[in-house]
């Protein structure tokens, strides 16, 4: 039997998903005997031209992490789709936009101004910003175009499976790879390596249906390590987030930030979290509610920290 041909690629992401794969450690070496890695820019030397010269559907599975923010990301997503039998959106960014999608709260112009002109440490008297083409004496130089709106992988390519998480946790990656290699594949579009229940089912903290009259931010308090953080007034995305990670953040006494994405059949994770949070508000009058609502300092960054590109509204209006 020929060994399955596997590709990994990163697009707009931090690289944490690649580290999560490397963290498999010795298991990765065992895996090496079972699979052929044909493309993995972060760890092995491959050129895009190698990929372009492959016949279509030559790769068995591509694990694609990262969102689509540049024309290079888009090109690789479409190229890998054409060359692969299965395309897996790997990690929160590929599935839902992830942290890079918070760029959708700003325009390309605002981002360029901030990065290349306005930050106090920037020294750019000629106000130079990246151009896609530049004519140097040696010839024309090009860099990818930066898009105004960050998109998810499935907005630009047909995705077979989703593996959420920032990053997906080790044991889940092993399980996913095992499932795919076993050949008994779940239906297309399935979310792999995660639970179908909310994180609260996995969380060991004690829940008592207590209401809250005041919200506190993490730095303002030292939470009781035994009680539900939401009941202590700390916004925890647990109720609106898929489990499967083993509640790692909660184990470190830190609230869930929602990286495993929405539960099955939920369209918009942020809207669900908003409902969940409002339902534990202990207030009846409009004034009290207004005050509570205003104490959510950054609603988009809180409710859509990882999911803005996959939300209904997708970005802010300029």
């Amino acid at each position: 039997m020929t060994k399955p041909r596997i590709a990994f690629n990163w697009a707009s992401s931090c690289g944490g998903c690649e580290i999560a794969v490397l963290e498999l450690g010795t298991k990765l070496i065992e895996l090496k005997d079972k699979i052929d890695i044909v493309f993995w820019p972060v760890a092995l030397d491959f050129k895009y031209s190698d990929l372009e010269s492959m016949p279509d559907k030559d790769i068995d599975v591509t694990f694609f992490n990262g969102a689509i923010q540049t024309s290079e990301n888009l090109h690789l997503a479409q190229l890998l789709r054409a060359k692969s039998k299965l395309l897996v959106a790997f990690g929160a960014c590929a599935c839902m936009g992830g942290i890079p999608a918070l760029a959708n709260t700003k325009s390309k112009q605002q981002i360029f101004d901030s990065c290349y002109k306005e930050t106090p440490t920037t020294d750019n008297p000629q106000a130079i910003t990246p151009q896609t083409k530049f004519s140097a004496p040696e010839g024309e130089l090009t860099i990818p175009e930066f898009y105004n709106t960050v998109r998810t992988l499935d907005e630009v390519a047909d995705v077979d499976y989703y593996v959420p998480g920032c990053p997906p946790v080790g044991p889940q990656i092993e399980k996913v790879v095992g499932t795919i290699l076993s050949g008994s594949l779940p239906p297309k579009g399935s979310v792999l390596g995660a639970s179908d229940k909310s994180l609260c089912h996995e969380c060991k903290l004690e829940k008592t249906d207590r209401k809250i009259s005041k919200l506190v931010r993490s730095y303002e308090t030292i939470p009781d390590p035994k009680r539900c953080l939401l009941e202590q007034g700390i916004i925890c995305m647990g109720p609106a987030t898929r489990g499967g990670c083993g509640a790692l953040c909660l184990d470190a006494n830190s609230p869930c930030r929602g990286c495993y994405g929405p539960l099955p059949n939920v369209v918009d994770q942020g809207a669900k979290m908003l409902s969940a949070l409002a339902s534990v508000f202990d207030a009846e009058s409009e004034e009290e509610l207004q005050k509570l609502a205003e104490s959510v300092v950054d609603p988009i960054g809180t409710f859509y920290r990882f999911g803005l590109a996959r939300s209904l509204l997708k970005r802010t209006k300029e």
Partner: protein
């Protein structure tokens, strides 16, 4: 004047009306032949508490210029406190939508009883005029698509 009417912007407002009060109030407005703008598309829901914030966002994403949620006055809810639950969510929703850049005028929560046909008509009228003056939203074409 005629051309003015032909070219002026007509807002599209989605109205989530609770079955027991606001929808009956809207019905009364019709039965009483009260004139009000035809810009609202009413959707009957059993309770204003049933209106998930997702539905409001979906309406905007699908092209609505405004969304009205209308339910029973506090204390009059057919399901005891569904409207209070709506109110709890609504303040937070307003906060979120304003961060998305959606003007405050575009989304409203109002209490309309079954006998307040006139009040319902006035709400639709004022909302239509306010949204007309700030212009179309056109979320998909103007905000999302220019990638």
């Amino acid at each position: 004047m005629v051309t003015d009417l032909a070219t002026r912007f007509e807002p599209r407002i989605v109205g989530f009306l609770c079955r027991w009060c606001a929808y009956t109030g809207a019905d009364l407005a019709g039965l009483s032949r009260i004139k009000y703008p035809p810009n609202i598309t009413p959707i009957r829901v059993n309770c204003s508490g049933r209106v998930d914030p997702m539905l409001v966002m979906k309406a905007f994403a699908a092209g609505a210029d405004g969304v009205l949620i209308a339910g029973c006055h506090p204390g009059d809810c057919h399901y005891i406190n569904g409207n209070v639950k709506t109110m709890r969510r609504f303040k937070l929703l307003e906060q979120l939508l304003s961060q998305f850049g959606i003007e405050k005028e575009r989304v409203r929560l109002e209490w309309v009883s079954a006998s307040e046909g006139g009040r319902y008509a006035r709400i639709v009228e004022s909302m239509t005029e306010e949204i007309r003056s700030i212009g179309p939203l056109n979320w998909k074409q103007k905000v999302v698509i220019p990638a």
